[in-house]
Symmetry: D2
Subunit: 308 residues, 4 copies
């Protein structure tokens, strides 16, 4: 896991903050990016699933990308540009690049009859039209598209503009190992998603780091640092120590993550856009106890100390 | 079936024409609308499933709405404004109204856990924010959302802005009968979709007409006229005569319809946007034979004579 | 379309008759088979989707196979033996063969991650263990498994025990043409299902006949006879004449078909096993009108005259 | 959480052991049950999802139930009897009761159109026909049926034969709390499944224990004991300590669990029936490291010491 590769380490997927009236909250997005930047993360991804990209208008997307790039202070910003139409994905990709995105993240969409050749052609068109590197997102839970490892490898090996595979198909440890083994272009990174639920197991099998929304990047950074230092058991201890929070946080929806980010002082509101829902009081109370047990006595609005 | 009600009769769902390079072809859209207008249709719906709305950027949508409203010459234009986010549906709805839409057509989106209350709230927000009447689209084949008749009736009966239900859940004859029986606001129309596959059976059970993409509105007009005249068996004969074409045309995708519209001289190209595909040569040849058998000796670029 | 091939022509898929208390009605199954046999059908398929095979215990299956084989009077009986487990499919297949089945019909089951290699291995194991020919059923609507034409062709071309492909993936005309073109073992037949909805279009593209549940095999026989005689336009006329009934009958579920079979004097009850439902009164009334219009003045308990 | 209630505490879901040739391995099932019995578990569930019930013939089921009841030595055996047909579910339920099952576990099956009334009627018929108590399984991940809490509560409150709800719909903590709050018949237990992934969080919100396949019931017993003793933070520590193993084990499929049971000396083979697959070598090696880290120096063929 070379520390110097462009898309390795810890690249948080960012929530899109909203005000209580569901309008985009750019001040919170700015604050979120600056805080994570001070933690030393390796980049940011905006407008992914956690970013509620499927609940935004194109105009809102444009404004959010501008805010993210401005706040990132030179750290790379990856922008999710997936769309159910190939031409529209290309249009969103070009716009993101023009606005300063360092890369785009692209997932395929479900077709009436699954067809690897159509998925390949979708990516070919987007990659060839993209002015910036492309992160291939493999997340069948949200896309309902299953991309076998050979298809992903063909994309990564044939197209120099593919920079990274975000590997979120379960069982992820096995798939990550298959991808790492099959990559000819070794500069392509493979990153872990899924809220880091399988984080240590993925690192063990070759993951180059994290590209996920877990609200404490400090934890993921500690795992990556130990792995890079050859201390796998140390990484396992960090994983074990914080896994209950990862498990709790990755329950369906983004409501819990937004509440954590609010408690960290980063989001003004935990609002999730309708038709999804914000956190309920009982879950918030349960989260509160979990955070107390996980970070006893710590101020969550500051970078947390990792103990393991 | 009162002929004078606002959303009854035959309201074609329009394809979105593209050039061979997949860019929107406004001249063809204009031609299509003017030709159907001269047939005397009761309105037009743009940006539905047949309109490939899920493959368009917001900017393309805006331009297409403008062209449609201008070409419609006063006939009502219904604009599909469904979006996976409620706030975005509202934004698209307001823009459509501002651009001259007579109504908007709205379908719900799939949630992780199906929930009628969430669907109701989605519609409530959109309906209350809409400056124009709303057509509720019930098309589980594309949405994967099943709306039971009581939910649809609650929407139609509680909200005066609901003008029409586009009933496309199979078995449609039964559902249409249940809707017609339960409507308190009798001015709400119930229209048949699904490419008119069950067209006569739906009319028999109370459908107020068609809101579908069958490429020969003349056939649907003939069926509606006979039903209104009390000649159900005449309507059945028309249905029988043209049913093979309806069956062939409603095969999955919009490729066959676009090819028919091209043969009618309305679309310059039969191009379907990627990742969907355009018609293949063998299917086009089979369609050609079917059109010859259905309209022997007729010029399809002119309004066709209906025989039954 | 050679008339002499083993699995060509018209092979009805049979409903499983139940008494009003939902217990299997063997007398009605016997009557159904004898009546269809007198029509001259080319075989029978029992325990398919229409046969409600997924609502039967193994013991009920055994008894129904015995009744079917005894009633068939030497005509081939194909038995559906699909099961979610491969070993269980093999067990059911061996039992069916032992009980006198001429062939078995086998469909794959949905896996967590679609995988053509797993589907191939499933078929390989079943085919190699089967004492009788195998009909490969391609019906993604019920299985949620999409088998591309190359996979089906590999099965048909590699395994001599594959006798037939029941082609029910839409668009079926195209897929049937692809299969016919790719078959090396020309003795493998390709049959049309889907309630004959695309019946003529499938014949046009090379289908060898019908393996479907349409309740008037006479109609399908008339289409096949005309095609074999080189009279495609005659087949098209038959198709057109009876298509409304095919469309009405293939609405979701098997309730309408069972009611037609009851009206034909073949089933004592139209009962469908729970959790599916039997026909409702309004649909039965609508069906009655349709049958009157389709077969004016004819006695449906006798073989019907085909007019076109 | 009363310790004396009939279906509370820790009731493992058992794998169905197979020989390497995929035939049922009764000796291993016997050994598995006796070992877990000596741990003091509160019962056993056989023929659930983990038991690969959907890959068994009815005859195999019968034999396995006999072995389980004989080995259980008086401890209650719950038998999964779900079937896609209601009458068949009843037949399997009656047989299980006759063979000595203490209860049956029943899940609904997916219908073409979701309908709570049909699910209720399915359960009503099964419950009224069942000679033994019924466990209602709410596991949408496998059934694709979403049962809202009010439906589950209606079943539990109206039918005295409902003894337990196996709550496996995510987010499970919230649903369990809603069920516990709404139960009028307080003797109905609510148990945690999902491989105990949310185990502590479910206990916190009112779960009465575990009905899941985690291969170390000792861990679950320790959590339940601490909760019953009022030591929630102790239960949390146990959960945290063993959560990596729970997470790893609940990856899709049952292969990992069978391998653990094999390493514990309980299963002669880790074979999973086709079309599912057995564990691969790399995953087995990763599991080996995880077990070493989780139970350092312990003999897994003996009851393990729980440390936290």
């Amino acid at each position: 896991m070379p520390a110097s590769a462009p898309f390795t380490g810890v690249i948080p997927i960012l929530a899109t903050p909203f005000h209580d009236d569901e309008s985009p909250d750019h001040a919170s997005l700015d604050r979120l990016i600056r805080f994570f930047g001070e933690l030393g993360v390796d980049g940011f991804t905006v407008l992914g699933v956690l970013g509620e990209s499927n609940r935004l208008t194109d105009a809102e997307r444009t404004a959010l990308i501008k805010t993210a790039v401005a706040a990132a202070g030179g750290r790379p910003v990856i922008v999710g540009t997936s769309h159910t139409g190939t031409a529209a994905t290309i249009a969103l990709t070009r716009e993101a690049a023009q606005l300063g995105a360092a890369a785009v993240m692209v997932a395929p969409s479900k077709q009436p009859v699954p067809n690897d050749a159509v998925v390949f052609e979708y990516y070919r068109r987007v990659i060839e039209a993209s002015p910036v590197p492309v992160v291939v997102q493999d997340h069948p839970l949200s896309t309902e598209v299953h991309m076998p490892a050979p298809l992903l490898l063909r994309l990564a090996n044939e197209f120099p503009r593919v920079a990274c595979i975000k590997a979120e198909a379960t069982p992820s440890p096995n798939k990550i190992a298959a991808l790492k083994a099959g990559l000819v272009r070794k500069e392509v990174s493979v990153l872990t998603g899924l809220g880091a639920l399988y984080g240590f197991f993925d690192l063990e099998r070759g993951s180059d780091g994290f590209n996920t929304g877990f609200a404490f990047p400090e934890v993921l950074q500690a795992m990556v640092a130990r792995m890079r230092a050859g201390d796998a058991e140390g990484a396992r201890r960090v994983f074990t120590r914080y896994l209950p929070l990862m498990v709790f946080e990755q329950q369906p929806g983004v409501a819990i993550r937004k509440e954590i980010l609010r408690r960290r002082g980063l989001l003004a509101s935990n609002r999730v856009r309708h038709p999804a829902g914000s956190i309920d009081a009982a879950t918030a109370e349960q989260l509160h106890r979990l955070l107390e047990a996980t970070f006893p006595g710590q101020d969550l609005t500051r970078p947390v100390r990792i103990e393991a």
